[in-house]
């Protein structure tokens, strides 16, 4: 049987890569993809802890399902915003979207 920390290490690596992507990528779609990576890393952790700590409880899986719903909502609204910005300003580079910055 695989020990718990292997899963947690994979999730930690994925989460760290996601953080790098969110902070460093310029394209807004790429930032959104990195956010999806972070959400997935969290999901691995939730399910791994559910399996290894409390397989009779439902909390772990239930949280993962709610994360799915939030991720789907976030992707739909985020991509709609990106398309809308692209139509108005001809750019999807996050730094150039600075109208509300002083």
């Amino acid at each position: 049987m695989i020990p718990l920390h292997w899963y947690l290490l994979v999730a930690a690596g994925m989460f760290a890569l996601g953080i790098y992507g969110v902070l460093a990528r310029r394209n807004a779609v790429a930032i959104l993809m990195s956010i999806e990576l972070m959400l997935n890393a969290v999901n691995i952790n939730l399910v791994a802890f559910w399996r290894y700590m409390a397989p009779e409880a439902l909390n772990g899986q239930m949280f993962a399902i709610l994360v799915f719903a939030v991720a789907a909502a976030e992707a739909a609204v985020g991509l709609a915003l990106i398309i809308s910005i692209y139509r108005n300003r001809e750019t999807v580079v996050a730094e150039d979207i600075n109208l509300l910055k002083w």
């Binding site: 790098y20 990528r25 915003l81």
Partner: protein
């Protein structure tokens, strides 16, 4: 640690997950980055299967690969005119890499310190999916979060339509 088909499958899925994630954040071609995202999401689905959560694995493929990845790919195609002409990372990328490395080291340290070598406390109950389904519509369990998630999805759907409409 003996090598069994399960551990081999775990290593393959972990390689998919981490390799895909690396591709997403480093690839300059956004379309390829989206493909790496699909690979990483598949890896996560495989990990869910290994964790004996087949329901979540199927939902992962259905929601992420079938819906979110397709949405992202289409957005990349629609906004492709400026894709690839600019630098893929901004000026603060060394800082970002540093933050990410510190995060990884901290998380790795905590994981190895607290959870190293832990094995499952019990087997997964056979009727797990049945109980999951019943808990979602049980007033004392998860009915309210379920309804809130539904309302959230509805709001997101209406919002996306309103925002993206010409």
């Amino acid at each position: 640690m003996t090598i069994t088909p399960i551990t081999i499958a775990f290593f393959i899925m972990a390689a998919f997950t981490l390799g895909g994630s690396l591709g997403v954040v480093t690839n300059r071609n956004l379309f390829h980055a989206a493909l790496y995202l699909v690979l990483a999401l598949f890896g996560v689905a495989g990990l869910f299967v290994l964790l004996e959560a087949p329901f979540l694995a199927a939902v992962q493929v259905l929601v992420y690969v079938g819906a979110i990845a397709v949405l992202i790919t289409i957005t990349i195609m629609v906004t492709r005119r400026i894709m690839g002409v600019t630098e893929s990372v901004n000026r603060q990328w060394p800082l970002a890499a540093g933050v990410s490395a510190i995060m990884a080291i901290t998380l790795g340290f905590v994981v190895l310190d607290r959870f190293a070598g832990k094995l499952p406390v019990a087997a997964v109950p056979g009727d797990n999916i049945v109980r999951l389904g019943e808990a979602l519509v049980n007033y004392d369990a998860y009915l309210v979060p379920f309804e809130v998630a539904s309302v959230l999805l509805l709001a997101a759907m209406i919002g996306a339509i309103v925002v993206a409409r010409e």
